[in-house]
């Protein structure tokens, strides 16, 4: 029977059983994309559809952050004209999307991953190199 845990309980009390690392997918160049291949260690923990859905959404969000569009060009030109001092005042499009990503990861952790004893680490803390998924020991947390 699967135990349901809250995110707080996991962080403070559970012991780490294993860690899975989702590496970057470089087939489209240096754009930030992560591999969507389902790791074998998570087979018993979460279903494939859910995991792939999370990965796909994250990849789309990162693609949106790094999109070369009119907004990024306007931002870049404006920044150049002000000798890049404008970065002290406004938040760039990339930073706004990163905040969105952080919120999404938090939400996924709360709703989907923590009840299954898993924890996603924001890849920004690892320099956008890996997504670290921590698998916690499945033990009873009730007294």
């Amino acid at each position: 029977m699967a135990e349901t845990h809250s995110l707080q309980d996991l962080r403070h009390q559970a012991a780490v059983a294993a860690k899975v690392f989702i590496q970057r997918d470089y087939t489209n160049g240096t754009l930030c994309q992560f591999q969507t291949k389902f790791p074998s260690e998570l087979e018993t923990k979460i279903d494939k559809q859910q995991f792939e859905e999370t990965m796909r959404t994250l990849n789309n969000l990162y693609a949106e952050a790094e999109k070369l569009g009119s907004q990024s060009y306007v931002e870049g030109c404006l920044a150049c004209l002000t000798a890049y001092t404008i970065f002290l005042c406004i938040e760039t499009h990339y930073e706004k999307v990163l905040k969105k990503i952080a919120k999404y990861i938090q939400e996924q952790n709360d709703k989907v991953y923590a009840p299954r004893g898993l924890l996603l680490t924001d890849p920004l803390e690892r320099g956008l190199r890996v997504i670290e998924i921590t698998i916690f020991e499945d033990r009873s947390l009730t007294q």
Binding site: K19, F21, Q23, R24, Y26, T27, N28, G29, T30, A65, E66, K67, L68, S72, Y73, E75, G76, C77, C80, A83, Y84, T85, F87, L88, C89, T92, H93, Y94, E95, L98, L124, E125, R126, G127, L128, R129, V130, E132, Q143
Partner: protein, 371 residues
């Protein structure tokens, strides 16, 4: 059940425990390489050259030609200093080293791939196909990661840097993904500035030589400090313009990674195809974040107002002082007195043998905001 009392230890910021050979200032906001001596030299050279230009040539040129010349010079100078500081102080795109768990996981994967044997395995590489071109990803033994494409390990800073261009001692930092555009803007504006100064110093000499002869005009003018630097900086700007338009890094160009000499079907998989898109992507593309966070920054915008007036104590004999200062330099009675008052009202007083000129600046704190 009561939780035992936990003693609150101050949480160390990431930059305080950073393993690379970097120096940090302002609570981690400023990040530089370990050796910064040459950076200070760059700063001094630029300041001295511009200082000499503004002191000796601008008055004459503003009078003889147009007062817009010093204004353009000042704008260029500020842009150069701004972009230089931005390049030197920003994080070039340093990749954090692998956590022990991650390193162990990678080692396990490599052992499985190699078939773990007793002897030391060959250098680790991973092949990836990017836009039809096979690229080898190398394993970094210091950072314990497979380097992303275009990343390289800087031996001076002891970090892996994304889209590593080169380590620039003049700027005191690596040039990588996050600060390449600042670096390019710096060398481009510096080329304009040096060409500008050079051209107008020559103009000054020519105009002066019409009155007092060429040799004495040459003797009069300070040695053209920027003559040799003009060619090297303009050359460097041209080289980097070529690199940007073909979307290559200095590292790749030197190694000839995408050169057609290597093989017939060798091409650059990162290029967008046309020069315009490559330039836009490099200069105006989105700026990736730094993973080393720092606290909130409080920025105080200072407004400086300046005005020049003739000291009314000395009677006026000739034309307004500002434009006559230059002609006094080859007399024995010249005297330049520059003094500073302490904050908040610094002022400059320039005195020549004929009259006084008082230039006063006031710095008014205006806006304090948090970013």
């Amino acid at each position: 059940m009561e939780t035992p009392y936990k003693k609150k230890t101050p949480k160390k910021r990431k930059w305080e425990t950073f393993p690379g050979r970097n120096k940090f200032y302002c609570d981690g906001r400023i990040m530089m390489a370990k050796q910064t001596g040459v950076f200070y030299l760059t700063l001094v050279l630029i300041l001295v050259t511009c200082g000499l230009f503004f002191t000796f040539d601008c008055w004459f040129l503003a009078e003889q030609l147009t007062p817009i010349i010093p204004v353009i010079g000042a704008v260029l100078f500020l842009f150069v200093i701004g972009t230089l500081l931005r390049t030197s102080f920003s994080d070039p795109g340093v990749l954090p080293r692998a956590t022990p768990d991650e390193a162990a996981d990678l080692e396990r994967q490599i052992d499985v791939a190699n078939g773990s044997t007793g002897y030391r395995p060959p250098p680790r590489t991973k092949e990836v196909v990017i836009n039809g071109q096979t690229v080898k990803l190398k394993y970094c033994f210091t950072c314990k990661i497979f380097r992303p494409p275009r990343a390289s390990h800087c031996s001076l800073c002891d970090n892996c840097v994304e889209r590593f261009d080169h380590h620039c001692p003049w700027v005191g930092n690596c040039v990588g993904k996050r600060n390449y555009r600042f670096f390019y803007m710096f060398i481009l504006s510096l080329s304009f500035l040096t060409v500008f100064i050079f051209a107008f110093v020559i103009t000054h000499i020519i105009l002066n030589s019409q009155r007092i002869g060429f040799l004495s005009a040459l003797k009069d003018s300070p040695v053209v400090v920027c003559f040799f630097s003009v060619w090297s900086i303009v050359g460097l700007s041209g080289f980097h313009t070529y690199l940007i338009s073909s979307n290559q890094t200095t590292n790749e160009d030197i190694k000839g990674s995408w050169s057609s000499k290597r093989s017939k079907d060798n091409y650059n998989p990162y290029s967008y195809g046309n020069i315009f898109t490559n330039c836009c992507a490099a200069l105006c593309g989105p700026l990736p974040p730094r993973w080393l966070p720092s606290g909130p920054l409080y920025v105080c915008m200072l407004v400086a107002t300046g005005f020049a007036q003739l000291d009314p104590r000395v009677e006026k004999k000739k034309k307004p002082a500002a434009f006559l200062l230059r002609s006094q330099y080859h007399t024995d009675q010249k005297e330049h007195l520059v003094s500073f008052c302490s904050f908040p009202v610094p002022f400059f007083r320039l005195k020549t043998h004929s009259h006084h000129l008082l230039i006063q600046f006031q710095i008014l704190p205006s806006v304090l905001f948090k970013v």
